[in-house]
């Protein structure tokens, strides 16, 4: 593990039933870094993220976070250790209001090291639409608003790393670019760490980050940010099939 390494995945395999989806996967994410993970549909990206979050059991390999082995830890322990999660499809709680959705992770923690109300206002300043709709039901929001809500829900407890699974899926381009700007600003200004699973080429190039390509559950390419910092270069090198 390098000095700045925050999350380390070593020879990780996982899947559903008797089918192995993610096969012998290894990578490392350093503090303050954004790592993009891409690949076509059905290649195992979401399975990999679910395994990192503990929602799927690791069959083999090791997951270390801040040098602690969390391979067999429960999802709530991983969250409380400082891993934020923005799941694919957003998974907003429809029974809760916008503000209750955002505050949910706070309610699970006995105490926070910062003022929660200040943090909430900070998040509302990043996503003003959420403040406007704070009392509305989570399910009444549009897709783009729900995506902002899912990111706000992960930011509220100030995690050290946030995993975003396809944040651009089904979202209009202006909101995708807005989300991309928020992620790059948070990384640059607050040294936040992100893993972004994405197929949207323009968002990947906007993130200006290193990127790994997943094919059939195997890591097949590691690219430096300079190799994919324009849409053209990213499209050529990542050769996504959809």
């Amino acid at each position: 593990m390098t000095k700045n390494s925050l999350l380390k995945i070593e020879n990780l395999s996982s899947g559903y039933g008797s089918t192995i989806i993610v096969n012998n996967f290894s990578f490392e994410v350093n503090k303050g870094e954004i790592l993009a993970i891409t690949g076509s549909n059905g290649m195992g990206k979401t399975t990999l993220m679910k395994t990192i979050m503990g929602l799927l059991e690791a069959r083999e390999g090791k997951i270390s976070f801040k040098e602690e082995d969390i391979t067999n830890s429960s999802p709530d322990y991983r969250s409380k250790s400082g891993i934020g999660y923005v799941p694919q499809g957003r998974e907003i709680f429809s029974a809760l209001t916008v503000e209750q959705n955002i505050m949910l992770p706070v309610y699970t923690r006995k105490k926070m090291s910062f003022n929660v109300n200040d943090k909430l206002e900070e998040i509302y300043s990043l996503f003003p639409i959420l403040k406007e709709k704070r009392s509305a039901n989570g399910s009444s929001l549009s897709g783009g608003q729900q995506q902002q809500l899912a990111i706000a829900r992960a930011l509220i407890f100030d995690p050290e790393i946030i995993i975003l699974d396809e944040p651009a899926e089904g979202i209009q381009p202006s909101i995708v670019s807005f989300i991309g700007k928020i992620l790059t600003d948070l990384s640059k200004n607050l040294k936040k760490t992100f893993i972004v699973v994405e197929q949207n080429i323009s968002l990947i190039s906007q993130l200006n980050s290193d990127c790994i390509l997943v094919e059939k559950g195997i890591l097949t390419k590691k690219l430096k940010s300079s190799e994919i910092n324009t849409v053209e270069k990213a499209r050529n090198l990542l050769s996504l099939h959809n």
């Binding site: 979050m53 503990g54 929602l55 429960s74 999802p75 709530d76 991983r78 969250s79 409380k80 999660y85 799941p87 998974e91 709680f93 429809s94 029974a95 809760l96 209750q100 505050m103 949910l104 992770p105 309610y107 699970t108 923690r109 009444s140 829900r153 407890f157």
Partner: protein, 289 residues
């Protein structure tokens, strides 16, 4: 005047019975989707806990009632730990398991306490209005049922625990990835549902003959009220109970109680047919317009 009061008294009594019968089930079935056929036995445990502690330990009634509720919570926690927690998300299996629990519990009460147990005296007194006499305790039950429901609404809709419980029940795996200890939330929610059934048993213990099947008097009313209330039980429970209570009271007033019971069942069939999401579905739809 007396006639009107009499109607409201009967209606209130029926409303209180339906609300208190359904309140624990609203949490366990309405929220958690466990088809708990042992709901009646939770009420039985509450009733016996109250009566036995009142008689044997000579406790004053409110303390005996609190004891009855505590016993039911402990009973619920034990069942949740060893049986129910393996049935979340398995509604059909929960029917079989809770039916089995229901049979075991009612037969155990029969073996331990015999076919009937000496009851407690109904507290408070009676008052006279015209030619009719009314129980003060029955009036207390009407207000207490509404108070309890308000408390439950506040707990699940306005507190951080309620937010965690509703999120966990909607999506346990995503909740856990947000830091929710899903097992503890399920256990606490189930214990609250069991405790509320215990409250019902404790409150009605001084008004009924104490027999091992005492809970069976509540189970049909409980299920029909929760089903009529719909997907959001805390929103739909009062209108459902008020509607069913009105049907039952008015039909019973003109005919007899058996016909009243038939009328209530017919009313439920009509509600399910024309309001598949129950009263709460109708209220939430009207609100969102």
């Amino acid at each position: 005047m007396v006639f009107l009061f009499n109607i409201f008294y009967q209606l209130g009594d029926s409303l209180a019975f339906l609300l208190l019968a359904a309140i624990g089930l609203a949490v366990i079935f309405g929220m958690m989707k466990i088809i708990n056929l042992a709901h009646g036995e939770f009420i039985t445990v509450g009733a016996y806990g109250t009566v036995v502690s009142g008689k044997v330990l000579n406790l004053p009634l409110p303390i005996a009632m609190a004891f009855g509720v505590l016993v039911t919570v402990i009973f619920g926690l034990i069942l949740e730990k060893f049986i129910i927690r393996y049935l979340y998300g398995r509604p059909l299996d929960s029917v079989v398991a809770t039916w089995g629990i229901s049979l075991i519990v009612s037969q155990s009460f029969l073996v331990i306490f015999g076919p009937s147990y000496e009851g407690l005296q109904t507290p408070m007194g009676n008052f006279q209005l015209g030619e009719f006499s009314y129980s003060e305790y029955r009036i207390f039950l009407i207000f207490f049922a509404l108070f309890l429901l308000s408390l439950l609404y506040y707990l699940f809709m306005k507190t951080s625990f309620g937010t965690l419980a509703r999120a966990t029940i909607e999506n346990p795996s995503i909740s856990s990835s947000m830091g929710v200890d899903v097992k503890s939330v399920y256990t606490a929610t189930f214990a609250i549902g069991a405790g509320l059934a215990g409250v019902t048993g404790a409150l009605y213990a001084p008004t009924m003959t104490i027999v091992p099947s005492i809970g069976q008097a509540f189970i049909v009313s409980a299920f029909i009220t929760v089903v009529t209330a719909g997907a959001s039980p805390f929103v739909g429970l009062v209108p459902a109970a008020a509607f069913l209570g009105t049907v039952q009271t008015s039909v019973t007033f003109f005919y007899k109680s058996t016909i009243g019971l038939i009328a209530i069942l017919c009313a439920v069939i009509l509600i399910i047919r024309y309001l598949p999401n129950g009263f709460s579905g109708l209220i939430l739809k009207t609100r969102s317009k």
